[in-house]
Symmetry: C2
């Protein structure tokens, strides 16, 4: 796999299609698995970690899965390339910054990635655009089965899958849905939604792990409990709550349309105007402005001038590592702000001159 080719596409999770794609960016399921014959990664020696990696890599690349997996050993990558994988949600920040033998196997369309020697020996992840947890589950379950035929997982009859951190024991499963909730933020109802989710043991975090005010109004909602529940139960719990949040967001959008359509129209147009004219632009501000644009497109305020896949692409391509890959150079913060603004100006100029 050539990493540069990654920057030229959006990958699965920003494809901008799938059910409820105006609000649900992506659905993701990950499974934590460990080999029974090795200590957990944190207790394994470098030599053992190399053995684990070698063994898993062999199995992964030869797997008869639908789409071939390419294995990327992380120590062979530059810091920039590792950051690129983080921005694409293919690996965790922890794996990027760790030491020693470790890597990731990635499927062609980025629907599946498998981290090796993260907190657990294996972190399997399936991603789908839109609200598609069942499809993600089908993918990850099949992959898990295929691997289990070739590997002895650390498994206890009493607890289920054993994991390095007790919070993952049992199913080892975390299912999460990434939502774009700008109207709930604008109408100041987002905190209320969070509190309700926390009460039913669902966690909320931003696109790249931020707290309550997430960049670009992207929120990931995921299950916290992995033990004492079946995979099906976990899936059902989150699958049932997401439509409610979608409905709250749609109600908030209706409220905005009804009560402050002019202000919203102004906000969306100013966002486009600023993205088209600024000559310095931070990643944070870009995400906030693109969030307004995305809302505007989905509410029909920008007509045919820009598509959701393009907006999604701009979110990703303006992240620091992606931007530097695009520019073909390592850039400091100020240089990135200048390059980011230039890139956005050019891309949005292409998007057509008549924006209102």
């Amino acid at each position: 796999m050539n990493l540069d080719s990654l920057t030229q596409s959006n990958g699965e999770w920003l494809r901008g299609s799938g059910p409820e794609a105006d609000i649900v960016i992506s659905s993701r399921i990950r499974l934590a698995r460990n080999l029974s014959s090795f200590p957990f990664s944190s207790r394994a020696s470098t030599h053992q970690k190399a053995e684990i990696e070698q063994m898993l890599k062999d199995r992964l690349v030869k797997l008869e899965a639908e789409s071939r997996l390419d294995y990327l050993p992380l120590p062979a990558l530059t810091a920039l390339d590792r950051q690129l994988l983080v921005e694409r949600q293919l690996i965790s920040r922890e794996l990027a910054n760790a030491d020693g033998p470790r890597g990731v196997a990635v499927a062609n369309q980025e629907t599946v990635s498998v981290m090796v020697n993260e907190e657990d020996h294996l972190r399997l992840q399936a991603m789908r655009s839109g609200f598609a947890l069942d499809e993600a589950w089908t993918d990850i379950d099949r992959l898990d089965d295929l691997l289990e035929e070739r590997i002895n997982y650390a498994f206890s009859e009493e607890f289920g899958y054993l994991t390095a951190c007790p919070t993952n024991v049992g199913t080892g499963m975390r299912s999460s849905v990434m939502l774009h909730l700008p109207a709930l933020v604008l109408t100041k109802q987002i905190e209320k939604v969070f509190r309700a989710l926390q009460k039913i043991n669902l966690a909320v975090r931003g696109l790249y792990g931020e707290g309550s005010r997430a960049s670009g109004d992207f929120y990931q909602i995921s299950n916290q409990v992995t033990l004492g529940k079946s995979e099906a139960t976990i899936l059902t719990e989150i699958r049932e709550v997401i439509p409610q949040i979608i409905s709250y967001e749609r109600q908030a959008r209706s409220t905005l349309t009804r009560e402050s359509r002019q202000a919203l129209h102004d906000r969306v147009n100013r966002a486009i105007g600023t993205l088209r004219s600024a000559t310095m632009m931070t990643s944070e501000e870009t995400m906030d402005l693109l969030s307004s644009v995305r809302l505007g497109v989905n509410m029909g305020l920008l007509e045919d001038t820009i598509s959701i896949p393009t907006v999604n692409e701009l979110f990703l391509q303006t992240q620091p590592a992606h931007l530097q890959k695009l520019m073909g150079a390592s850039l400091d913060g100020e240089e990135r702000n200048s390059a980011r603004a230039r890139y956005l100006r050019n891309r949005l100029r292409e998007a057509g001159p008549n924006l209102n």
Copy 2:
């Protein structure tokens, strides 16, 4: 004089030419005069005010001045038309809002205006684009002489010209210069300049009389003392201090170019971008954004895309009364904000598509 024709031009003070026109918007001199045979306006009966107006109007329209004066009786105008005259600096807000017989005589190019029955029976005013106090003085002095041949002014050998308010006694003269000082504002040196001016008895106020943070970074500097000094001394005092302020502003612009050229470029481009894309825009924000654009043009950051006379015109045409005249309708605040944004979008789109 047809008031509608006024909205189609810029008038003298926004012509954007004359010495130091990048920083000095206009130079203005006014003289307060009263008739010896009538009580001051505040103490005159309506009947007496009507007599004063009739007499002055006859003299004014028949004056053999360079440019013919047209007389506009204010009670015959709508509130909107009176506001239009205020926005063009042809009459004071006080005259606009007063009662009873009163009016203004205006010269063709708006270089001269004469208010009748303001605080004083006569307020003569000459305006010039750029730093041109001497030329304004020549105009107003000639007009004053012409009038004095036909009218008995209230004059005391001891005090000079007598005026309704003691602060105007003596010369009855106020000379003022309107400056555009965005770089002193951006570099946070404007307060220091104000304090220095106050120490030498010069007053500072905004374009429409605001306090220390003036809309659009426009500041009027004027003399406060009218008594015990000759007209020539007053003129010299203000004429000598203005070049210093111009020099401070130029230094501040150099500092910006040296130390934060990128940030300035960004600011100017965002201003244009917002003016071109917003769909709601207050008068206050318009002036702030146009101030950045004006600075950008004068610092060569916007090349040939927009001229200073056009920027000046936009400042004036987006004022509430001008805007309503342009739209041919009476508009409430929200309608004005929408119409103003639409007008700016259209005007700036004409100004050429490539702005950076």
